[in-house]
Subunit: 372 residues, 2 copies
Amino acid sequence: METLEVTYRISADSAAPEALVESVLLEQTIETPRSVAERYPFVEEHMMGSVRELRPEESGDVIATLSLPFSNAAADPAQFLNVLFGNSSLHPHVTLLDFHPPSTVTRLLPGPSFGMEGIRQTTGVTGRPLTCSALKPVGLSVQELSDICRTLAESGIDLIKDDHYLADQSFSPFRERVRICQEVVDDVSSATGRRVVYVPNLSGGPDDIRRQAAYVQEQGVRAVMIAPMLVGLPTLHATCRDDLDVPVLAHPSFGGISAIRPSVLFGKLFRLYGADAVIFANYGGRFSYDAALCAEIAQQLRSAWLGIKPSFPIPAGGMDADRVSELVQFFGLDSILLIGGSLLEAGDDLDSKARRFVETVHSSATTLQNAF
Amino acid sequence: METLEVTYRISADSAAPEALVESVLLEQTIETPRSVAERYPFVEEHMMGSVRELRPEESGDVIATLSLPFSNAAADPAQFLNVLFGNSSLHPHVTLLDFHPPSTVTRLLPGPSFGMEGIRQTTGVTGRPLTCSALKPVGLSVQELSDICRTLAESGIDLIKDDHYLADQSFSPFRERVRICQEVVDDVSSATGRRVVYVPNLSGGPDDIRRQAAYVQEQGVRAVMIAPMLVGLPTLHATCRDDLDVPVLAHPSFGGISAIRPSVLFGKLFRLYGADAVIFANYGGRFSYDAALCAEIAQQLRSAWLGIKPSFPIPAGGMDADRVSELVQFFGLDSILLIGGSLLEAGDDLDSKARRFVETVHSSATTLQNAF
């Protein structure tokens, strides 16, 4: 029988960690007392799951690896999450540490449609990290945003994304913004021979996102951004499968589901549900992830896994142009470096600051390549 | 200017709680250094938000109430969550404690279509808590599930819901299960004159849910269940608005986003996005919520708020029939009591145990009414 292996941390605060493991096993499978399942041979044989490993840690926490029936998880993209960490997410003593689905999961969740290689083809950039910046702050008019877009595009930035607060607001209507910003990057691409990519933010209910996806692709847009936790991971999956012929950058907003290890949420689940590149809170910026966790997220996104395409890591969040060399060293050539607010802080010097960001990425990459 | 007021707890663990308040304010508004916004008069005037109150607690935590621009949040149902708690959810030191939108939020999010009164009309039950049980465990055939459904329906249970693990699995196909279970409750309703309601679980991507919603309503189903955190809150909203003419029971699965106070997630957000009744982990059961928190969730669901309809609280999760009198006392007449696994444990005595559950709810309600 195919199983979904899931590893949870059961905290030592729990009154009886080992009893909690049994209760988590029942919670994530039959959700009844064990005696109920024993009345039904099919359930007892195929649905009960089992405890594969129990490993006590020095802290008193218990690391429990369970085998859960994949036939249950495989029903649909919402049900997969349900079996992985549905009710158990409500237990304060339980954290999702890792999971290993059978390779047949890709029939349900085929992972990124484009992945790192697809984004490299879209941009024409090889052998170095890509550069990315953002159109912000929210409240600017389409004219103001498109002026920033032009400056960033001319400076040599590869990907210019909407801020995640840009939606369809009256002061910057979605369609007008997309049309004009795409014209700007098309202009600059024609003039320079580079392929500058504008990445609009899709937001709303599933029908809104479908309409927006159709519109942006009509306009020639070659990548989009979606925040999977805002719209729901099943909506990300459906949008990638049904509505998009371009790569998706995933934004981490509303992803503070602290009962899931961030490398599992951003590194594995976002990728499995179709994100071609994943933005996450970098170490040393506005958020509290440490370097080891960021390395782990990047590693998960790029690792060989289930035969699905690797996704680009996009460390971001209060990053400064001064840290570029360090970050190229740390994340390596297969990464996208996103610097937003810190470039915009330059005001009238945006152009020169953006150019310095681009040049530092290029030269750091060359240094790194030569080091091999 | 209309504002969304949001209250966060900034934990004392944070190096500099008051500096973190400023950073949360920027995070949830312009997401750039303040100097960037000051270059644009419209942004400075309308988008910056402000700190309305800072209240240090004895623990060293700081309770911060911010006013955020509603014009930004109002763009769509995903953007509302984004402004409420998007990036800040990623801060380990920040918890969402409460929020107060302007009354115009109901243009975007009108709340439950049916609410408590609609569910009472659907079932024909007045003046007492409703009774609810579940078809489970997953792995049973349609025949086995419909046998349980018949026993529960004949015992006098008002609402019989699918377990949240029932999706469209091969051993219990969705359409067949819905058709046959609905026939069962229709039979029993005709025979008894009561209106027994079968509540199938809708699961999957947005198109799956739309197709399922259409199918179940064709079959005469009069309420459905959806897990908003699995499918995404914007999908719940869109489904209620566009695809359903029957009430929705919301299931808490995948709702362990511990950075949001559960009374806010289950009591306010689920209701605002359209849930007519909300299942939550009861005190004294399998989960760790305490009685005060459960009372707060129930209070939030039923309170006068924004002119939107009140929703039924459904305490659940390892509840035992022995606790029914206590729970009727605790949650009052406007509640739905859900007992699942503990009834099924009775095996061949399911019928008598379910009848005892029903009778205890009815008699406890009479006692409570007479006490007034």
